[in-house]
Amino acid sequence: MLSIEHYFFLSFALFLLGVVGVVMRRNALVVLMSVELILNAVNINLVAFSRWFGDASGQAVAILLVVVAFAEAVVGLAIIAAVFRRHDAKTGDEKDMLSW
């Protein structure tokens, strides 16, 4: 097995790209995809540490995280669908619909 830093750096790179996607893109769907990317990066860390320490807890938490990410995607897409239907908007920040 490679050293844990390899996985750590990969996870960090994906996390960073996810954050950049959230900040940079205006399309609400791509923002949601970037959030999925961030959660995926966290999963890599969990599994790598789980393997590293030989403890299954990390993988158990990673499974729960996958399910939560799926639920987040479902709710996020439903919100986007509802908002887009009601306002007929093309991007997330049009008409300040997704800002607070």
């Binding site: 996985y7 790179a13 393997r51 807890s57 499974i63 639920a71 995607a73 991007t91």
Partner: protein
């Protein structure tokens, strides 16, 4: 040696497709790139001998989530394109953020190596645990120590499903009923 080659190939695909995902102008292309990233991540899970996570990632993340994105995009015709000038300005801002965060992380790793905390966490050690946790151990953890978290997750998933249905349900009024 072969594991290094496999890791670097998969990591390269994951990072490259993630970068493409956030830079593609069409949302459909972004969804395809997200799928590639998630598949590459599934390969990394397999390399880490986590077969349960590999299967979960393949079915739920790379399968269901990406399919859901594509379905919603097609359903609502949302494959929108941003204006080019605006897009270039955003890229400049994101490059600046990348530079700042990258520098910060480099500083963090450089300083962390010299502290006792880093040695305590055994960063830079040469070997991992001899035995990788198998599916039985993972499930024992899931239905043992994390039983409450599992139950809460189930509730969250059910609430999400019901909420999604309730939110997307269209009220058909007499004037604009669909034929």
């Amino acid at each position: 040696m072969s594991s290094s080659v496999l890791f670097y190939s998969l990591a390269g695909i994951a990072v490259l497709s993630a970068a493409l995902m956030i830079t593609r102008r069409k949302a459909m292309q972004s969804a395809a790139c997200l799928g590639a990233t998630l598949l590459a991540t599934a390969g990394i899970f397999l390399q880490l001998q986590s077969r349960v996570l590999f299967a979960t990632q393949l079915l739920l993340f790379a399968g269901a989530v990406v399919a859901l994105f594509v379905a919603v995009m097609k359903l609502l015709c949302l494959d929108g394109v941003q204006g080019k000038t605006q897009f270039l300005r955003k890229i400049a801002i994101s490059l600046l953020i990348l530079l700042i965060l990258g520098g910060e992380s480099a500083l963090m790793f450089w300083s962390a190596r010299k502290t006792p905390v880093a040695r305590l966490l055994a960063f830079g050690a040469t070997t991992a645990a001899k035995i990788a946790p198998d599916a039985r151990a993972v499930m024992r953890g899931l239905f043992g120590s994390y039983q409450l978290a599992f139950a809460v997750t189930v509730v969250v998933l059910i609430v999400a499903a019901v909420g999604a249905v309730a939110m997307t349900k269209q009220k058909v009024e007499s004037g604009d009923a669909l034929d």
